[in-house]
Symmetry: C2
Subunit: 297 residues, 2 copies
Amino acid sequence: MNSNAQIELSIANAIEHTLNSTLNRVSTADAPPLLASAMHYAVFPGGARIRPRLSLAVAFACGQDDPGVACAAAGAIELLHCASLVHDDLPCFDDAPTRRGIASVHRAFGERLAVLTGDALIVLAFESLLAGTVTRPERLAPLVGIIARSVGMPNGIAAGQAWESESLISLSKYQQAKTGALFSAATMAGAAAAGHRFEPWRLLGERLGEAYQVADDICDMAGNAEELGKPVGRDAALGRPSAARELGLNGAIARLDLLVGGALGSIPDCPGAEELSSLIRQEAEGLLPKGLARQAA
Amino acid sequence: MNSNAQIELSIANAIEHTLNSTLNRVSTADAPPLLASAMHYAVFPGGARIRPRLSLAVAFACGQDDPGVACAAAGAIELLHCASLVHDDLPCFDDAPTRRGIASVHRAFGERLAVLTGDALIVLAFESLLAGTVTRPERLAPLVGIIARSVGMPNGIAAGQAWESESLISLSKYQQAKTGALFSAATMAGAAAAGHRFEPWRLLGERLGEAYQVADDICDMAGNAEELGKPVGRDAALGRPSAARELGLNGAIARLDLLVGGALGSIPDCPGAEELSSLIRQEAEGLLPKGLARQAA
């Protein structure tokens, strides 16, 4: 196993372990059992865990000195991502019947518990930052700030989803808020969790977030529902903005390449810059399903 | 104006001012306008603001040394209360057409924006704790902990609402989580914001929370919708547990008196214990609308 694969594996294990123990901590004997199950269902089995893996990779690259803090930050980001998916799937939004190849939370547990699952995961994200920073209390404030801004108003995920209710949509604000913000939070929180200045890490997250959004638009237009584990063609059906519809398939794939190149060029100086660059390159190759990647080559 | 009335007035003004500036901070020119309006609509005009007034009154009683911290804590608690009302009014929960005498958020702005309003208010609550503790960074952690536990799993508001989806309801856990938890958070956060030990303040909050719940049940059974500014008879219609249905009207009123007495007896030693006691007594008198209070006397 090469060193990249080892880092990838230890990152993946650390994330699942963190999420598991965070959820176990609140699934106590006196918790309402259905909500506890629905929260677990919303988080496991995970998707690609791309945001927390990015966050931990940045913390590693910065030479993180306290894995507990870095894991807590990465875990909080994934909890918030899962919360946004649960609410985004609700009947009043996308009314998605499936997510990650299985019934969406509201289909499996009902709408009430789906609303509450999102709410409780948001709260748990902040609570888990607190639990994860007991050894480095001075890192709680920057992490709360970075992460709260990435999910709230005026520029976080909730703002991004709210742009869908406006008649005049600012496309770049919409995409930056709905997808980019949590990616920037992932890179910045990784740095902040390692005790580094976090602002220089914003651009990397922004570019990766945009690359991910373009890849997602491509998959939605030209992907295969079974391979992706979620319905396709939703952007067109819901009239949502899409880079693939705007630029055409080949144009969108070219744009994706450009963004990944820009991301690699914006990695700040840090002890593990080379490994991080190689991880991101590898990650980017997995953004499109094999069939589409071949088509692009 | 006596000293009680002066404290009450300065507390009320401080709360409105805090909530206003917190919401203004995120209602920037680049925010999605409808979500910004819906968040404002969910918070203003307020109800009785009973939780943040309690929190600030405790901070005053503890001889608070930094009003900014105390106001931030009180404001965060009110934002979370408003978020819970917005989600609780949704069609999949109570489907309430009105709240505080005007259309509920989902009736006025649609279901999507109502879900997002709740989400964004939850996030804003934590962000506002951060902003409010820059002068006392060591108070952020206890406040995040107290407040997160009161709204999340396993014992906070979300857990309380989730008990409504269980076939076997634990009545005391349900009421403690759905109502009591945020009252305990109010008293404990008030003490923590003043730099005091907060655990001794839990019991006061629990008893006041239970008193408030009993008063609410009484209003729902025997109150007047116009006077209350919200529909009545919902507990019976929705089959929800109710102290008034369980104990009868007079029994419930007797229980309320007992709880208020117990609350007064559990105020911890502090410089302003006497003023706090007198404020709580006055507050308790306002828990039932005039008609019902006369009936009780």
